[in-house]
C-alpha cells in the first residue's frame, strides 16, 4: 500500500455567496492522503458546511479547484465517489429502513455493499422493516451512516453528523465510525463542534478561522489506534484539546 497516495487536493478554494455577498472561504489549500481521517473545527458560522459541500461538488467554489484521484470534483461526483452524512439523518419517512439504506443503489450503480450486512454492522438487525418514525435519534443516524456506505464511496463527507445525538449514543457512534473507517479504508472529512470528538477520531485536525474561513492550523494527532474512550481522560489527550481550544479563541 502506498501510504502517501494523495486522494484529495484542494487548491486556493474561495467562496463568496452571490446573494448576501458573504465571503465564506478564503484561499484554502490542502491535500489529503487516501484513507486519512480529517476532523474540521472552526468558529460557528465560519464556513465549515460550505467547505464540505464544495469538496463533494454540491456547491461550486468561486475560485480554486478540487481534484480527486486526478479527476475534477464533478467527474468524481458522477462516479459516486462522495457520500454525505448531515446532522439531520434525512431519512425518507415513507420508506422502510432497508429501503432507505438501498436508496443510493437505485440511482448509482457502483460496486456495492450488502445493505443487510451494513445494518448488522450498525446494530440495526431486526429493524429492517421499521419506518424511520419508529426509531430513536441515534438509530436514525446509524441508518444514515449505513446508507452513506452502501455504494462504496471513496470519500465520506460528514457535517456534524452526531451533533443532535445524546452523549452516550454519540460516544458509541464515534467508536462505530472509527472501527468501520479502519475496516474499509474510506477517506473521511468530519466536521464537528466538539474538540475532543475531533481529536479522538482524527489523523489530522484542520482548524478554520472565523469568516471568511482560512485554514489556520493543521494538527497531527498521533495517538495509536484502535483508540478507546479512556484515551480521552489521559493527560496527553487533554493537552491536545487545550491547545486546540486556544487556537479557536
Amino acid at each position: 500500500m502506498t501510504a502517501h497516495e494523495q486522494i484529495v487536493e484542494a487548491v486556493n478554494l474561495s467562496k463568496t455567496y452571490p446573494d448576501g455577498k458573504v465571503q465564506a472561504l478564503k484561499d484554502i489549500s490542502f491535500s489529503v492522503a487516501k484513507g486519512e481521517f480529517i476532523s474540521i473545527i472552526g468558529p460557528s458560522g465560519c464556513g465549515k458546511s460550505t467547505l464540505i459541500k464544495i469538496l463533494g461538488d454540491i456547491t461550486e467554489p468561486s475560485m480554486g479547484t478540487v481534484r480527486v484521484n486526478g479527476l475534477n470534483a464533478r467527474q468524481a461526483r458522477l462516479k459516486g465517489m462522495f457520500s454525505f452524512v448531515f446532522q439531520n439523518p434525512v431519512l425518507l419517512p415513507w420508506r422502510r429502513v432497508i429501503e432507505n439504506v438501498s436508496l443510493p443503489l437505485e440511482i448509482l450503480h457502483n460496486g456495492t455493499r450488502d445493505p443487510n450486512s451494513l445494518l448488522r454492522v450498525f446494530g440495526l438487525e431486526g429493524f429492517e422493516n421499521a419506518y424511520p418514525a419508529q426509531l430513536s435519534g441515534g438509530m436514525k443516524q446509524r441508518v444514515a451512516l449505513a446508507r452513506a456506505l452502501t455504494f462504496n464511496p471513496k470519500i465520506l463527507l460528514m457535517d456534524e453528523p452526531f451533533g443532535a445525538v445524546d452523549e452516550l449514543n454519540r460516544a458509541a457512534l464515534d467508536l462505530d465510525l472509527a472501527r468501520i473507517w479502519q475496516e474499509i479504508g474510506v477517506t473521511v472529512f468530519f466536521v464537528t463542534h466538539s474538540i475532543s470528538e475531533a481529536v479522538f477520531l482524527a489523523d489530522r485536525v484542520f482548524v478554520l478561522s472565523a469568516r471568511p474561513a482560512r485554514l489556520k492550523t493543521v494538527l497531527n494527532i498521533s495517538f495509536p489506534r484502535p483508540r478507546n474512550k479512556e484515551l480521552q481522560e489521559t493527560e496527553p489527550f487533554q493537552e491536545v484539546v487545550r491547545c486546540l481550544r486556544k487556537e479557536l479563541e
Binding site: 461538488d57 454540491i58 461526483r77 448531515f86 439531520n88 425518507l92 436508496l103 437505485e106 419506518y131 455504494f151
Partner: protein
C-alpha cells in the same frame, strides 16, 4: 369510565345530539303548528323520501357521478400541471399567480356560461365540478412538490440523481401529505359544483329535483333530496379521508 366507553363516545354523543334535535323539531312542529310548506316535520321528510326513494336515489347517483368525474378530471389535471410547474419555472411564473387568484374566486358564477357552452346535459356539470376542484389541488400540489428538504436534494445530488429520479423518489411522495387535504376540500367542492350546474340548467340530477319540487312547494321532498345529496357528499369525503390514512401513513395525525 372504561376504555371502551371512550372509544365509542365520539360516535354516541353526536348521534344522541341528532336524536334530541329531531325530537325537539318534531315536538315544536306539532305544538306550534308549523306550516309544512315552510318547514316540514322530520316524519314528513322521511315519508317523502320513502315515497320517492327511487327517483331521489337515481338523481343523487347521477349527481355523484358528475361530481366524481369532475373531481378525477380536475384533480388529475391540476396535479399534472403542478408537475409541469416544477419542471419549468417559466410556465410556473406565467400561470401560477392566476391560479392562486382563481383559487379564491367564486368560480361557480360562471355556471351559466358553462351551460351555454357545454349544453344542459352532464358535460357542463362535470366541467363545473372539475373547475372548482382544480385550483385548491393545483396550489397544494405545487407546495408539496417544491417544499422538499434542501438536504434531501443535496443527498440526491451527491448520488448524481436525474431530475426524473428526484421527482419520483422525493418530490412526488413528499407532495402527498399536501395533496390529500386539498383532495378532501375538492371532493366537497366538486359536489357543490355539480349541484350548482344543475340548478343553472338541466333536466336531470338532484339539483333539478330540488328545483322542481320547490317549484311545486313540495318542501318535504326538497329536504329529503338535500339529505340524500349531503349523505353522498359525506361518503365521498370519507372515502378520500380513508385513502389518505392508508397512503400517507407516515403522517402522524
Amino acid at each position: 369510565m372504561s376504555a371502551q366507553g371512550i372509544g365509542i363516545r365520539p360516535v354516541v354523543v353526536p348521534a344522541v345530539a341528532l336524536v334530541v334535535l329531531l325530537g325537539v323539531w318534531q315536538a315544536a312542529h306539532r305544538i306550534f303548528h308549523f306550516n309544512s310548506i315552510v318547514l316540514p316535520a322530520p316524519t314528513e321528510i322521511v315519508a317523502a323520501f320513502v315515497k320517492n326513494a327511487g327517483s331521489i336515489l337515481t338523481e343523487t347517483g347521477l349527481t355523484m357521478f358528475e361530481s366524481v368525474m369532475g373531481f378525477i378530471i380536475g384533480c388529475g389535471a391540476a396535479y399534472l400541471l403542478a408537475i409541469a410547474f416544477v419542471h419549468s419555472r417559466t410556465v410556473q411564473q406565467a400561470v401560477y399567480p392566476y391560479a392562486v387568484a382563481l383559487k379564491s374566486t367564486p368560480l361557480i358564477a360562471i355556471a351559466p356560461l358553462l351551460v351555454l357552452w357545454f349544453g344542459n346535459g352532464i358535460a357542463s356539470k362535470i366541467v363545473m365540478s372539475a373547475l372548482v376542484a382544480f385550483f385548491p389541488v393545483l396550489v397544494n400540489s405545487v407546495s408539496g412538490l417544491t417544499a422538499v428538504d434542501a438536504e434531501a436534494l443535496d443527498l440526491m445530488k451527491s448520488y448524481s440523481a436525474t431530475r426524473r429520479q428526484v421527482l419520483l423518489k422525493i418530490r412526488i411522495p413528499n407532495s402527498l401529505s399536501y395533496l390529500f387535504p386539498a383532495l378532501k376540500i375538492a371532493s366537497s367542492l366538486a359536489v357543490v359544483g355539480a349541484v350548482i350546474g344543475e340548478f343553472t340548467g338541466s333536466t336531470r340530477g338532484i339539483g333539478h329535483l330540488i328545483n322542481t319540487s320547490s317549484y311545486y312547494l313540495d318542501t318535504a321532498l326538497v329536504f329529503s333530496a338535500i339529505g340524500s345529496i349531503s349523505l353522498g357528499g359525506i361518503l365521498f369525503f370519507g372515502f378520500v379521508a380513508w385513502f389518505e390514512k392508508r397512503i400517507v401513513f407516515w403522517q402522524k395525525a
